[in-house]
């Protein structure tokens, strides 16, 4: 049962992360701050959170505790640490690109928000898959 929680969690977090990356790419390619309806990445994130919670509830307390054991915490903490520094680098990268006129400030702000979210989600999935 804990395997099911882990699989659903990785699949949905990965999907949400990819949606954030695609949204950011859409902003860069089209130059519009909402290449698709603005609420799509957020709605997908909320759906993922809900689906993971429901899966955990259906799987029971013991399976949920096993799926959030110390290996999970190690993977989560590692992803958080790396995402923090990646986000710092993104701040610099986007600021430099906007200052140089490569991307507008509004677009840069949206890209930054999407990629900061995606960085943790995709790093978590990456480390989770490596630890299987």
């Amino acid at each position: 049962m804990s395997e099911r929680i882990s699989t659903v969690r990785s699949a949905l977090l990965g999907l949400t992360g990819l949606a954030c990356v695609l949204y950011a790419l859409g902003v860069l390619v089209t130059g519009q701050v909402d290449p698709v309806p603005w609420y799509v990445p957020g709605a997908l994130g909320l759906f993922s959170a809900l689906a993971i919670t429901v899966t955990a509830l259906l799987s029971g307390r013991r399976a949920t505790e096993a799926a959030t054991d110390e290996l999970y915490r190690l993977v989560r903490d590692r992803a958080e640490r790396q995402a923090y520094w990646l986000s710092m680098a993104l701040f610099v990268g986007v600021a430099v690109a906007a200052r140089a006129g490569l991307v507008g400030w509004e677009q840069g702000f949206v890209v930054l928000g999407c990629l900061m979210g995606a960085s943790f989600l995709l790093l978590f999935v990456w480390h989770d898959l490596r630890m299987r």
């Binding site: 395997e3 882990s6 505790e65 096993a66 799926a67 054991d69 110390e70 290996l71 630890m131 299987r132």
Partner: protein, 68 residues
Amino acid sequence: MAGLVVHLEARRRAAGMTQADLAEAAGVSRKTINTVENGVFVPSTVLALRLAQVLGCSVHDLFELERE
């Protein structure tokens, strides 16, 4: 620092348990057992003690420091 030698897989097999059985008994995921056996993940003291308890042996039977 000396490396860690893991005997968990041998002990588990000797007890006639699968990774899933051991994971269930220890309250962790099968993935955790697999990564401990492969030396990818070093468990906490609490988990090491719990694994030893489940397998009815000492922590030293499961893990030892590599001899230099």
